[in-house]
Amino acid sequence: MKYRKRIGLFFLNIFFILICLLCLIPVLYALGISLNGHNDLLSSNVSLIPQNVTFDNYRCVLFEKPFFLWFKNSLILSAFTVLISILVAVPGAYALSRKRFRGRKMILNLLILLNAFPAILSMFAVYRILKPLGLINSFTGLILIYIGTMAIFGLWNMKGYFDTIPEEIEEAGEIDGAGDFQLIWKIVLPLARPSIIVTAVMILIYVWNEYIFAVTFITSSGKYTLAAGLYALQATDYTRNWPVFSAASLLVSIPVLVIFFCIQRYMTSGLTAGGVKE
């Protein structure tokens, strides 16, 4: 019996190694291609790439395309979006969680409904609204769009977490004469840290990965984010140059991968949207 169990585990491990490989294959293949200066499988477009030099594809991405400019744009956009979204959503989520007021139920139901609405469907209307305001091809316009889209998620996610924090702690603070601001700053924020971190990171990743609004609302490539730039390049220059495209893809992904795996331990507690409760 024990022997049989061991054989079973052996095959199970083989099964999981295969599944993991299957799971990583598109990325591993891209990595291999991007490091390989000359590859006989790529005879059709090998002339575009300098032969034999391993990191040439990466150099090409970094220095022949405005990679750093786009990187900077992505940083600016995501920093502002995250900061403002959190500043906007924390008090809102606090009010929805702690205060009882008229229209609260209605707002909550409306948020669920709006969350079901795919942003792409109203993209054209947003365009017509922002155009007369002079917010096309401007970071301000794009940041506004990102904040508006992510505010719904931020409100829900943090409201849900605030709900799990016992109110008694705040009541004690209230008796000691603390105002709302102090309550939020000194008590709620420190306790809600996992949820705020996850919310912020989710917004950051969203902005980092968003390309369709970025290419629609930004018209000059000097203002592109990394995602928009990569998208535009694959549609034009990189179509026939898969090694350089793989190098660019991996470079763009690395920051997101690092951040994602850093906050993974907060994921289950901070993202209750998963339905997993502690």
């Binding site: 291609i33 606090y94 709006l114 054209f124 017509r128 506004l144 709302d180 992904s253 998963g274």
Partner: protein, 295 residues
């Protein structure tokens, strides 16, 4: 006392202002556009045409909306079933007693979730499905078979998209089901085994009833995201300038094309409104799960 009662509104005001401007007002505006003939020729002074756009979407079968809707429902159904079954099997196997590398495997399996979605999709397109140097056709070549033009035909493109969606969506599902399985008290199984219950009895009588309420919200949310999926179909087959010839529009890519490619804004807006109404209807049925899910 009066001051206190208006404070919540003050706290909510910034959120409401920005959501109002970017989400609510555009939706209402979309509703208005849907009643006009706004297009490239009528950009500034569109005329009011009543429900004409809606009639075209619903009653003119050639318009493509109904077939896109049918395809989207099929897409959502197939993907959800596949996802649930595969994720369930993997999660159960992950929880096998004595599997020491459990954590390691789980971390690797989360990888597709961590990658930027559009990057993964483009890597699949260029690396796996490409006709000449894609890995899939290279493998087929080694087996002595002819390459398949994966993204060109309707059926093969649909299956390719399903494959990519499965790859992208499984990590989240595995995480959810894995978490739910771990919350089930092991002693139930022990006593069931003592009573002589088999695998399927345990599955039907213990696992599913206990796991269902935990994963239901996540499943409902995933149904929404699958229905709304835009990137996979668009990037694999519909990208401007590199269309593959497969017509596997879902309602979302269909609406996008009507607005941004053929510039038929009024019609596209009408379709948007119809989709929104469908989503409202569906979220009314699943209101409970949704609230749980976002809590």
């Amino acid at each position: 006392m009066k001051k206190k009662s208006c404070r919540p509104y003050l706290y909510l005001a910034p959120s409401i202002a920005v959501i109002g401007l970017i989400v609510i007002f555009p939706i209402l505006y979309t509703g208005y556009i849907s009643l006009t003939n706004m297009n490239i020729y009528h950009w500034f002074h569109p005329e009011f045409v009543g429900l004409q756009n809606y009639a075209k979407a619903i009653f003119v079968f050639d318009s493509g909306f109904l077939s896109a809707l049918l395809r989207t429902v099929l897409w959502t159904g197939i993907n959800m079933v596949l996802q649930m079954v595969v994720a369930y099997i993997i999660a159960v196997l992950l929880n096998t007693e004595g599997l020491r590398a459990h954590k390691f495997y789980k971390t690797i399996l989360m990888f597709p979730w961590a990658m930027p979605g559009y990057v993964s999709i483009l890597l699949w397109k260029m690396g796996m499905f490409n006709n000449e140097y894609g890995l899939l056709n290279q493998w087929l070549g080694k087996l002595g078979l002819n390459g398949v033009r994966w993204l060109d035909g309707n059926v093969s493109a649909f299956l390719s998209c399903t494959m990519v969606n499965l790859w992208l969506a499984l990590p989240f599902m595995i995480m959810i089901i894995d978490g739910a399985l771990q919350s089930v008290d092991k002693s139930y199984y022990e006593s069931a085994t003592l009573d002589g219950a088999g695998f399927f009895t345990k599955l039907g009588k213990i696992t599913i009833p206990l796991v269902r309420p935990v994963i239901a919200p996540a499943v409902v949310i995933t149904i929404f995201t699958t229905f709304k999926q835009f990137d996979i179909v668009y990037l694999l087959t519909q990208q401007q300038g590199s269309k593959t010839g497969a017509d596997i529009h879902t309602v979302i890519t269909y609406t996008y094309e009507k607005a941004f490619v053929t510039n038929n804004y009024g019609y596209s807006a009408a379709v948007s409104v119809l989709i929104f109404l469908l989503l409202i209807l569906f979220s009314m049925f699943t209101n409970k799960e949704l609230k749980e899910g976002y809590r």
